[in-house]
């Protein structure tokens, strides 16, 4: 585990993915995740690309897992809201350890009402599907939560969602 005091949140996430052999990164772009996505693209350890929709990315990662390659899905809150059918009819019943990172919007200074409403749906959906989720607010806990939860997901063949709070990432600020 890398020293968390000096590193930025996205450096910690990248290092933790690498130490867990999570090699395939599929994402739908997000402003807050941009430094992480950029660093992943620049690191040849990872195969990193964008999909057009979050459920498409979930399909790609499901196929890759079944064929022996670990991966992770990066998205924002509104993207997660497009996933319930695929999670309920593929990920959960097939016992796929889908590793999902959500850049949290809709809270702590959100300026778009639609994002707030979407955010309200996320944790109820995760709870209804029985999917483990962690809202990460503190950088000193980030590596531990992500590392242990990836290991648990793989060991128990169950998906996990990391909700990256604006308290961790800074979030997206309305330019007033």
């Amino acid at each position: 585990m890398i020293k968390t005091q000096q590193a930025s949140w996205h450096e910690i996430v990248l290092a933790t993915l690498k130490s867990n052999d999570v090699r395939l990164i599929v994402y739908v772009p997000d402003r807050v995740l941009t430094p992480l996505i950029k660093a992943l693209h620049e690191d040849a350890f990872f195969t990193t690309f964008a999909c057009t929709r979050e459920e498409e990315a979930l399909g790609v990662l499901t196929g890759a897992w079944m064929a022996g390659m670990r991966g992770a899905l990066l998205m924002q809150t509104s993207g997660f809201a497009t996933l319930p059918n695929a999670l309920a009819s593929l990920t959960v019943p097939s016992q796929i350890p889908m590793i999902m990172f959500v850049s949290e919007r809709g809270t702590l200074g959100e300026f778009n009402l639609g994002q707030v409403m979407v955010c309200n749906t996320m944790q109820p959906v995760l709870n209804a599907l029985g999917i483990a989720h962690h809202t990460i607010t503190r950088q000193d806990e980030l590596a531990f939560i992500v590392d242990r939860s990836i290991k648990q997901a793989v060991a128990t063949q169950a998906p996990v969602t990391f909700i990256l709070s604006p308290l961790l990432t800074g979030g997206k600020v309305f330019a007033a």
Binding site: E55, G63, P93
Partner: protein, 199 residues
């Protein structure tokens, strides 16, 4: 684009073509069967450990196949998908073209209807040309199979020469000839064993 237009293609039968297709698999190729009749006919064509039968998540056949192709570049992967399902997730064709996996062949069964839900017409019944869409997305090796012999030739070429390739076949409105056992964990576990994967 030098492909025959959809209306030059013969209307064939999905189960017959599925049997023709699986009879040509000699190197443990992976096959992803899309939701509904597509995977029912794949199941009835003879169960292989390298077959994955999708029970839900309509539209994700091609993305799942792409993921398998990325993870196992030495193995050829075949996605079997219906016209209605493809129309739900058309943009995955753009992603396939961008990633350009040589070991991926996409087969589209186009009957112009949502057969399993009551045969309502799809957009491909009269207007949308799925091969033209695939070519427009950047999958240059996309073609309509004009008859069974042409289907055989296109599929054999796709496996031998590499892709990504897309073959579309006009099919009749017959339902699947059977039904897949609906046990998602067993289907997933067998498929992983078939691909030689230990988690």
């Amino acid at each position: 684009m030098s492909v025959p237009h959809v209306h030059n293609a013969k209307v064939m039968n999905r189960f017959e073509l599925t049997k023709r297709l699986t009879s040509k698999l000699t190197h443990e190729e992976a096959v992803i069967g899309g939701i509904g009749n597509t995977n029912f006919d794949l199941w009835m064509s003879g169960q292989r450990p390298q077959n994955f039968y999708m029970l839900g998540s309509m539209g994700l056949t091609i993305p799942i196949a792409l993921g398998v192709a990325i993870a196992q570049p030495q193995r050829h992967v075949v996605a079997l998908e219906g016209d209605g399902s493809l129309l739900m997730q058309l943009s995955c064709l753009a992603t396939v073209a961008e990633r350009a996996p040589k070991n991926l062949t996409i087969v589209i069964w186009d009957n112009g209807i949502y057969q399993i839900t009551g045969s309502q017409p799809t957009a491909s019944a009269a207007t949308a040309d799925l091969v033209a869409i695939a070519q427009g997305c950047g999958i240059a090796k996309s073609a309509w199979a004009v008859d069974e012999a042409d289907f055989d030739r296109l599929f054999t070429t796709a496996i031998a020469e590499g892709g990504p390739s897309l073959i579309a076949a006009r099919i009749d409105g017959q339902p699947g000839v059977g039904a897949t056992d609906r046990d998602p964990v067993q289907i997933r576990a067998r498929f992983m064993q078939g691909l030689g994967v230990k988690r």
